[in-house]
Amino acid sequence: MSQIARALAISRKDIESYYGKPPLVTWGLLFPAVLILAVYIKDRAGYLAVAPGIIGMTLLFGNTSMAAIVITFEKRTGTLERLLLAPLSARTIVLGKALSAAVYGIATSLVLTLGFVVFLDMPLARPGVFTAGLVLGAGIFSFLGIVASVLVKEVFEAMTLMNFFRFPLLFASGVFVPVAGMPWWIKPVAYLSPLTHVVELLRIGVQGESSLGPVWVPASIAIFFLLVAGVVTVPSFRRCATR
């Protein structure tokens, strides 16, 4: 059986054990739904400006948190050792773990989006671009969660470590304010943030237009971030797993 089939087996098992549990699903849905409803009630016309940002934020928090929680939990129970003792390459384990976290992030975001489309009449001008934004965002943030989890021992340490970059990213990535409307000195930071480009893809998917140029610009940069995140995660995992 190929290493890819084994990565899929890891993903299936993780979805069965962790991601399919009702508390996690509701956690992933309730927080962003309530946030968007609050904005919608305040400004029925203007909520569309922040909806893609909140979906992007859901991906960022959901995927980084879940990937990190699952790995630190398995470290604690000793079950991660089972994977390290099996004939699996570090790439296979990372792929399996990232895939299950990404599936969780994409599934919750899709349910959320469907809710907005049905109940709030949210348009989906370019559904293909929207889906690409979800997939790329879920991949990048899952890898980031794995990197954080291998650097620490406890779940709370992983959360603390990730909050150092997650909250600044929220501020500087066009989640609540489009990049075009940001002060000049924040813009370079915004362009270096993967969240900016993921949110931009979601925004194009919803509204059909972007302030960052044609769709291939944020798409290419998001793909670049995904590849870099994958390349960084595998050796980090290998080094931390065998030290």
Binding site: K13, E81, P87
Partner: protein, 324 residues
């Protein structure tokens, strides 16, 4: 036996293995061979470096120096090959608590590349072999400690490994469960699997193992068959003697130089003697001199535990000499 033939009989080969954690030297030039289809006991006190060795052999830890080969391959260079041929039972029963027993076995079968039918059959075979068929659909987390241990060992055999690492397999088990597990280990070895056993239970090591290595402070202080190790500690024997009269310990040990120590216990004197023949002669002479008689006498071979304690004491001495 030619060297090439000997090579094919070796399942695990370790040469001059070194590992340090900062300034702490965990392993210092460790070397040993484990023969195929035998139980090799790797013994040592806490912190001796046993788990570090096992973790390096399994590919969980990088070594600083030395050579390690399992079935002729280096785990650092060829981890997927080596890991597909070894099974590991860690000190803790670390299967997935939320998955039921059958699913745990089938999932591990998937990770080891077994096809769907193969892993279903193997899971049933192992559940039956380890007497857990009734618990097949119970979550692993709900099992008793003994059942968890059995399933953990079963899980390590899913892919029919050629070498099995057992780290403290009977820790925390009651006597019947521990006995049943030892029976299982013997069966696994009879089926051709090589077992590397680390344990604090020296009775268990003596009962199961043919070859032994004793590790103290990151160094091997003794290596050989169980009988060789026992002989190497100087042939000290424990003798129980009941005399008709009473006397002080000093009187006995000064009159009998072959008796190294003497302790009264339950109406008997427990004596540690180096040379049984000489000691008995001295004891008879002592009785004649005191006007008493030897009413009962029993002798016990040194156990692996006696040898182990003696080796630890020897390692602590500045001259490193073993024996009483």
């Amino acid at each position: 036996m030619r060297q090439a033939d000997q090579e094919t009989q070796v399942a695990v080969r370790v040469r001059d293995l070194n590992k340090s954690y900062g300034t702490l030297v965990a392993l210092d030039g460790v070397s040993f061979d484990v023969s195929k289809a035998r139980v090799f006991a790797y013994l040592g006190p806490n912190g001796a470096g046993k788990t570090t060795t096992i973790n390096i052999l399994c590919g969980l830890l990088e070594r600083d120096g030395g050579e390690v080969s399992i079935l002729g391959r280096d785990v650092a260079r060829d981890p997927v090959f080596v890991k597909s041929r070894i099974g590991v039972v860690t000190e803790n029963s670390n299967l997935y608590p939320e998955l039921h027993c059958r699913r745990n076995l089938e999932y591990l079968g998937e990770l080891y590349g077994l096809s769907g039918a193969e892993r279903r059959n193997r899971a049933e075979e192992l559940l039956c072999g380890f007497e857990l068929t009734e618990k097949a659909d119970a979550p692993f987390g709900s099992l008793s400690r003994g059942m968890k241990r059995r399933l953990t060992i079963g899980a390590s055999l899913v892919h029919r490994p050629e070498v099995l690492f057992l780290d403290e397999p009977t820790t925390g088990l009651d006597v019947p469960s521990a006995k049943a597990l030892r029976r299982l280990v013997r069966k696994i070895v009879d089926d051709g699997t090589t077992v590397l056993l680390t344990t604090h239970n020296l009775f268990e090591a003596e009962e199961l193992a043919y070859d032994v290595a004793v590790l103290v402070g990151g160094r091997i202080v003794a290596r050989g068959s169980v009988d060789e190790i026992k002989r190497r500690v100087g042939g000290a024997r424990s003798v129980a003697v009941r005399f008709s009269g009473t006397f002080q310990e000093d009187a006995l040990t000064s009159a009998c130089p072959a008796v190294k120590s003497a302790k009264p216990q339950d109406g008997y004197w427990r004596l540690d003697v180096v040379d049984l023949h000489e000691a008995l002669g001295q004891l008879i002479a002592f009785c004649r001199q005191r006007g008493c008689r030897i009413e009962d006498v029993g002798s016990k071979e040194p156990t692996l535990e006696d040898a182990f304690v003696s080796l630890l004491a020897g390692a602590a001495r500045p001259d490193g000499r073993n024996g009483p």
